[in-house]
Symmetry: C2
Subunit: 318 residues, 2 copies
């Protein structure tokens, strides 16, 4: 019997990279469900002739439809989430509706369908603002954004479903994921704006926000390796690069990509130490736990940023 995966939110940026990797494997079926609200068919168009690929338009909150889509599936990769995390400032329920509630629907559908494994995109937002403390998976969790809260709520639910109903559930606390097909994020925003107005750039906060970035290919390899290495139960893994890049440095990289002289670009800052109300300005994630499985990222933060900016530039000028 072939391996069978359902990628929930598979028409999104990260999802389409999972689909590509899984379809490159022999005897592997890949089904995508997505409501196409933030994901797009463009991301998965290249797979549509592949007989091992299926797409079903499903609202993830509709557990009944999800149960049907999980028929015959062994592993669910759950990536469906609100992509615009700052929107909660004006729409406070968004991360509950498009986060917490979706994960509950996925877990319940998986239980009903007899799925083996749920691989869940959590995030570093679960830790809240711990400053420059190096965070391991056992560090205290105290989200400051509703986005982080929805990720932690999802982890907690999957932990309980794993214990009570025997599902293998793994949660992944990613650094900021970048790469081809990216549809949001600071590098993406800078690139689009500088292509339009090459003489000025508006930077949220003071530009010193300092975080790790990870290439989407490294995320895919990390998740699928853990699926293979962990046999049962619930566990959670940080997935990050060892270095970090500031927002000002990302602006520099974007200007370099566009061949702009940074001296001639006027930078204005919104001020304060963070990009938006519940942004965490400094994040330090230890990937020691997953490295014990032999995982290491191919790209560090700086390389991932450079590479993703070049890719996005090529996509935007294609």
């Amino acid at each position: 019997m072939p391996n069978s995966y359902l990628v929930v939110g598979g028409a999104g940026f990260i999802g389409s990279h999972f689909v590509k990797e899984l379809l490159s494997r022999k005897k592997t079926l890949v089904r995508v469900v997505d409501n196409l609200c933030s994901g797009t068919l463009e991301h998965i168009n290249e797979f549509k002739e592949n007989p091992a690929f299926e797409f079903v338009k499903v609202d993830v909150e509709n557990t009944g439809d999800l149960v049907k889509a999980m028929s015959g599936i062994e592993t669910v990769i759950h990536l469906a989430s609100n992509p615009d995390i700052a929107r909660a400032v004006v729409e406070p329920r968004i991360d509950f509706v498009q986060g917490t509630a979706l994960t509950e629907s996925v877990a319940e559908a998986a239980r009903i369908s007899g799925v083996n494994t749920i691989l869940y995109a959590s995030g570093s937002g679960v830790y809240g603002d711990a400053g420059a403390t190096m965070l391991s998976e056992n560090s205290p969790v105290s989200p400051i954004s509703t986005y982080g809260a929805s990720k932690l709520a999802g982890e907690a639910l999957l932990a309980s479903y794993s214990f009570m109903f025997g599902l293998k559930c793994l949660g992944f606390r990613f650094a900021n994921v970048v790469g081809p097909k990216q549809t949001h994020g600071v590098g993406f925003d800078f690139l689009r704006r500088l292509m339009q107005f090459p003489d000025r750039i508006e930077i949220l906060g003071d530009g010193n926000q300092s975080k790790s970035y990870i290439h989407v290919k490294d995320v895919v390899s990390a998740v699928l390796l853990c699926e293979e290495k962990v046999q049962t139960g619930f566990d959670v893994f940080n997935v990050s690069t060892p270095d970090f890049v500031s927002v000002n440095e990302i602006a520099d990289e974007v200007m370099a990509q566009l061949g702009l002289n940074p001296e001639k670009v006027v930078r204005t800052y919104s001020g304060g130490d963070r990009g938006w109300k519940a942004d965490v300005p400094v994040v330090r994630l230890s990937s020691r736990k997953i490295s014990m499985f032999g995982w290491a990222p191919m790209f560090n933060s700086r390389e991932a940023i450079k590479n993703s900016i070049a890719e996005m530039h090529s996509e935007l000028t294609r």
Copy 2:
């Protein structure tokens, strides 16, 4: 202006004790909302002539109704929750619907209404099964029951609402709460069954499950003290007694209360080390953090159990 409290789930066992304590204070308005699914009007009947007391029947998931009920309220005490935690084995969504989603509704209604403070009944279930490890508030959290998952999801959401919207939110991880008006729990079950069949007792697990019990009056004093001591932000407190009592010892106490000779009562055990699938058989909570505010329980676990059994016996034979 008087102090004003809304007790969500105020017709329940714990809620009615908060109402009593708050009404004993001067210039304090107490409004109760409850859907009366597990709470009952009997619990709050004694207050109905008090001009400082109001009751409104509200479904907590109805955020609009909750907003109306929060008019003029400064502090919300949120106790609404599924009381039958083992029910999730056959009804897996219950703790999401009657837990996680209710807390989201309370938080959102409080934000809209301009409430100052949310005091939230979380639980030791957030920690999962850590064996005999003494748990502080910074210990890792990994729930094994959907009940524990719903409590952690609630804490996470309130932490983010506190940061993003400026509410003071405090979460309380209680030991097993016992006392007058108790409507469930192991002592309650043993008492009811032994009063009916005094020759036999069925014990879930092996009876060696060992946990701390806390008198409901000590819970009330702990929560209201923290409200006073913490000025802003989000925080979480264990609220427990220093000793612990096994299920077999609770059976002994119930027999002693009923004047039964324990030698003549046949004990049968369901077997295994726990009461139900996602029970945590051994729990050790450190209350060091809240003790720094000068809080100490009036009753230890054994006294709380004895006292609650005597009270329940008197209620059942009244």
